[in-house]
């Protein structure tokens, strides 16, 4: 479970997140929507300890990200929006590094790496430098790193960008399976079709404020005049 309580964040006196309150329960896939610059990435960065919080608290499975960072960081896996990291390591070296950080035993490590990388069709590239990977392959190796330590909370920032249709389908299945086991999946996306297919609940944010949180059904009921999710989204986030 993720609990965001009264969180505020400003950058040089401009308030990016304004008293945000959001509770993501266990066993749900929650889509995080908002136009560019709405505050999605800032929220994710505060949830994962990358950015300090100005006011309020964020807890992950009961651990405060600022007061108990080590415990909190062990409960989630993050797929950031830019997968260009650890480029000078080989794919296998990166996965071993993640395995060491999260203390994953060798046998489990071997089984998971082999299974997931074969599913993603990157197994034969594990001995290559990540620098030589395509954008999609880099995305897949980062997702494999998250699956390697199998945390109860998955946080993904635009996870499907750059993935081929097969891998995209596979990742969506994985997200569904993970939530069905009673875990939490929180992801930001601009792809409204993906959101419609996948999420149990949706959170819409604009100018750092939460505009809506609930199921897609509830969203449609609140906006009966609009036929599609796209129209609802455009109307809600329209600044004019």
């Amino acid at each position: 479970m993720i609990e965001i309580k009264n969180v505020t964040k400003s950058f040089s006196s401009r308030r990016t997140i304004d008293h945000l309150n959001l509770t993501i329960p266990h066993g749900k896939i929650v889509g995080f929507l908002g136009p560019n610059g709405a505050g999605k990435s800032t929220t994710i960065k505060m949830m994962t300890g990358i950015l300090p919080i100005d006011e309020g608290t964020i807890t992950l499975n009961g651990y405060d990200i600022e007061k108990q960072p080590m415990e909190a960081k062990k409960t989630f896996g993050l797929v950031p929006d830019h997968p260009d990291m650890f480029l000078r390591l080989k794919g296998m070296e990166y996965l071993n590094f993640i395995g060491d950080i999260f203390n994953i035993p060798s046998d489990i490590r071997k089984e998971r790496i082999e299974r997931v990388t074969k599913q993603f069709s990157i197994y034969t590239a594990l001995n290559d430098y990540i620098q030589t990977y395509s954008h999609g392959m880099r995305q897949k190796i980062i997702v494999t790193g998250v699956l390697l330590h199998d945390p109860p909370i998955w946080i993904l920032d635009e996870p499907l960008t750059g993935l081929d249709p097969k891998s995209s389908y596979l990742l969506k299945e994985m997200l569904r399976e993970h939530a069905e086991k009673g875990n939490t999946v929180f992801f930001s996306s601009h792809g409204l079709e993906v959101v419609e297919q996948l999420v149990d609940e949706v959170a819409i944010i604009n100018h750092g404020k939460l505009l809506f949180y609930g199921t897609l059904q509830e969203l449609r009921e609140q906006n009966p005049s609009n036929d599609s999710l796209e129209e609802v989204f455009l109307e809600m986030t329209n600044d004019a």
């Binding site: 960065k45 994962t48 300890g49 990358i50 300090p52 600022e66 007061k67 108990q68 960072p69 080590m70 960081k73 062990k74 993050l78 950031p80 830019h82 260009d84 990291m85 650890f86 000078r88 390591l89 080989k90 296998m92 070296e93 071993n96 590094f97 395995g99 060491d100 950080i101 999260f102 203390n103 035993p105 060798s106 490590r109 071997k110 790496i113 034969t124 590239a125 594990l126 001995n127 290559d128 430098y129 620098q131 030589t132």
Partner: protein, 548 residues
């Protein structure tokens, strides 16, 4: 056309120099560093004044003072040529932004002119640092006219053009026709090592030649002619010869003709560079790659699967990144070995093996410990591994923040990595002392103990300084090692502080025993390390709002 070139150049410069994250504290740091470095600047200027004065006093009575300016121009051209080689390779071929510009409808020469501006900024800064004090003091000492000072500035503006054009033409040919150069990483390492080998090679040749009898005979012959030495030194390289002639014959026909000659050479060089660039540049830049995919081996994958502790895993990751990133490999490892290696060459060629053996007899135990300790602290303090610890991560620094590793553990691992790399330098220094200087065993043991501690001190200090003000928004690794004051500040807080301590100990007669000296240095080093650790812990807690 010129408008497009100007627009392109402006955009490229903005991308290089704009820092959206600049804070007031960073500006303060720059001002603070500048104030601290100001006395060093005065010392440097004074050294240059002394050098020019003594050279002038030596050469003026025999009518060969023109050789001083010849030497200046020759050194400048060589230096600028080498700097150009490295910066051209990086900015023209290996910088990440070149791919963004290739799809736009720009002519190759427009890309070249825009890309050349940044290397030229470096060249002008380097040239000014060497040229301005030298030419100014030569002018004042020789009582030159106002025309000399005006034309001197014009020459400074012209000087980088020829070495830059030569280096660019050479590199464009290599990149177009040599296949091995197509691999970014491999070429960077080869180019870097080749430059160092070349510098050492020239040094060896010069040192061997100075002992030659024939050389001395030639020298005597040249000395008998007016400006003969200048002819001997710069005759083979017209740009340096003509530039000198401009300054020494400032108000004469020879001076004017020489200036026209220099301008013609610059125009010719630059036009040739643009013309060849138009033909060769894009063909060379396309297809540059960062590495090949290897053949798959399941055995290798299974072999690489093993568990390590977080400490070892993190340190291994850091070391692999340094070794596999050519710029880091060159700056952090190869160049840190270059200093001691250079020392060996000078010691061997200038003193010979026999006289070196007397080193230990010539010094008292106290002076030997202090001298050896100071040399090693200077070499270790200059190693950039520590003061780029955090900055090397660049935009990926944030990945450290969401992994469950304590920030202190990350920083300590980085200090450990810097100290591990120092071990290579210490090993080389140890070999020099053991086999060339024949330092007695007891002194060697004390030196080794103090130097290992010194390495922890210099690594902690560099890492701490970088932690205070890391440069994370870089687009090319080279930016971490150029135009940053941090290297000098780190040297000031390592070699500078211990320089003062050593100087005090040297002059206090009360302390004579080697153990006494070692004890005091041990106390200073451990106190220094403890203070930095405390400061680091405090800063980490403050920066990451830690509550534990």
């Amino acid at each position: 056309m010129m408008h497009k070139t100007f627009l392109l150049a402006k955009t490229m410069l903005k991308m290089q120099y704009r820092n959206p994250d600049r804070k007031a504290s960073q500006t303060f740091m720059y001002i603070f560093s500048f104030i601290i470095l100001l006395p060093i600047l005065f010392v440097y200027i004074d050294i240059m004044r002394g050098l020019v004065q003594s050279l002038y006093q030596a050469f003026e009575p025999i009518g060969q003072e023109s050789v001083i300016l010849g030497l200046l121009f020759l050194t400048l051209h060589f230096l600028l040529f080498f700097i150009s080689m490295l910066t051209i390779l990086t900015t023209f071929y290996f910088s990440e932004d070149i791919e963004s510009f290739i799809p736009f409808p720009f002519e190759p020469y427009q890309l070249l002119i825009s890309k050349a501006i940044n290397p030229f900024i470096y060249l002008y800064i380097t040239a000014s640092a060497l040229y301005l004090p030298f030419y100014f003091f030569y002018g004042t000492i020789s009582g030159a006219s106002i025309l000399y000072f005006i034309v001197g500035i014009i020459l400074l503006l012209l000087t980088p053009i020829v070495p830059f054009s030569l280096a660019a033409i050479l590199i464009m040919f290599v990149m177009r026709f040599v296949n091995v150069a197509k691999n970014k990483d491999r070429s960077k390492v080869i180019a870097g090592i080749a430059t160092l080998v070349f510098i050492i090679g020239i040094n060896v040749l010069v040192r061997i030649n100075t002992n030659d009898d024939a050389f001395i005979e030639n020298m005597v012959m040249f000395l008998q002619e007016q400006d003969g030495l200048l002819q001997m030194l710069t005759g083979f390289y017209p740009p340096a010869y003509l530039s000198t002639k401009v300054l020494i014959g400032i108000a004469t026909g020879v001076g004017v003709l020489s200036l026209l000659g220099v301008i013609t050479l610059c125009i010719l060089g630059f036009v040739l560079f643009l013309w060849l660039g138009q033909l060769l540049y894009l063909k060379g830049v396309l297809g540059v790659n960062t590495g090949n995919k290897k053949s798959f081996s399941e055995k290798k994958i299974n072999k690489s699967l093993h568990n390590n502790s977080v400490w070892i895993s993190y340190i291994k990751k850091e070391l692999k990144t340094i070794i596999r990133t050519p710029t880091f490999l060159m700056q952090c490892i190869v160049q840190s070995l270059f200093g001691p290696f250079f020392l060996v060459i000078i010691l061997m060629l200038d003193f010979g093996n026999n006289s070196l053996a007397n080193f230990s007899e010539a010094f008292s135990e106290k002076s030997m410990i202090l001298t050896l300790f100071m040399v090693s602290i200077f070499i270790l303090g200059a190693n950039p591994t520590s003061y780029t610890s955090i900055s090397r991560e660049g935009k990926n620094w944030y990945t450290n923040l969401f992994l469950p590793i304590k920030p202190k553990q990350i920083v300590l691992s980085k200090i450990g990595v810097a100290s591990l790399i120092d071990l290579l330098t210490i090993g080389l220094l140890l070999t020099i002392m053991l086999f060339f200087l024949h330092v007695p065993g007891e002194i060697l043991a004390i030196w080794l103990f103090l130097t290992l501690l010194g390495s922890i001190y210099t690594s902690s200090m560099g890492t701490y300084l970088d932690f205070l003000n890391p440069k994370l928004n870089w687009t090319d690794e080279q930016e971490l090692f150029k135009m940053r004051f941090i290297g000098l500040v780190a040297l000031l807080f390592t070699a500078g502080i211990f320089g003062i301590i050593v100087l005090i100990l040297w002059n206090i007669q009360y302390f004579q025993g080697s153990l006494q000296i070692a004890g005091i240095l041990f106390l200073c080093l451990t106190s220094g390390i403890t203070i930095i650790q405390k400061l680091l812990t405090h800063k980490i807690k403050k920066k990451y709002h830690l509550h534990y």
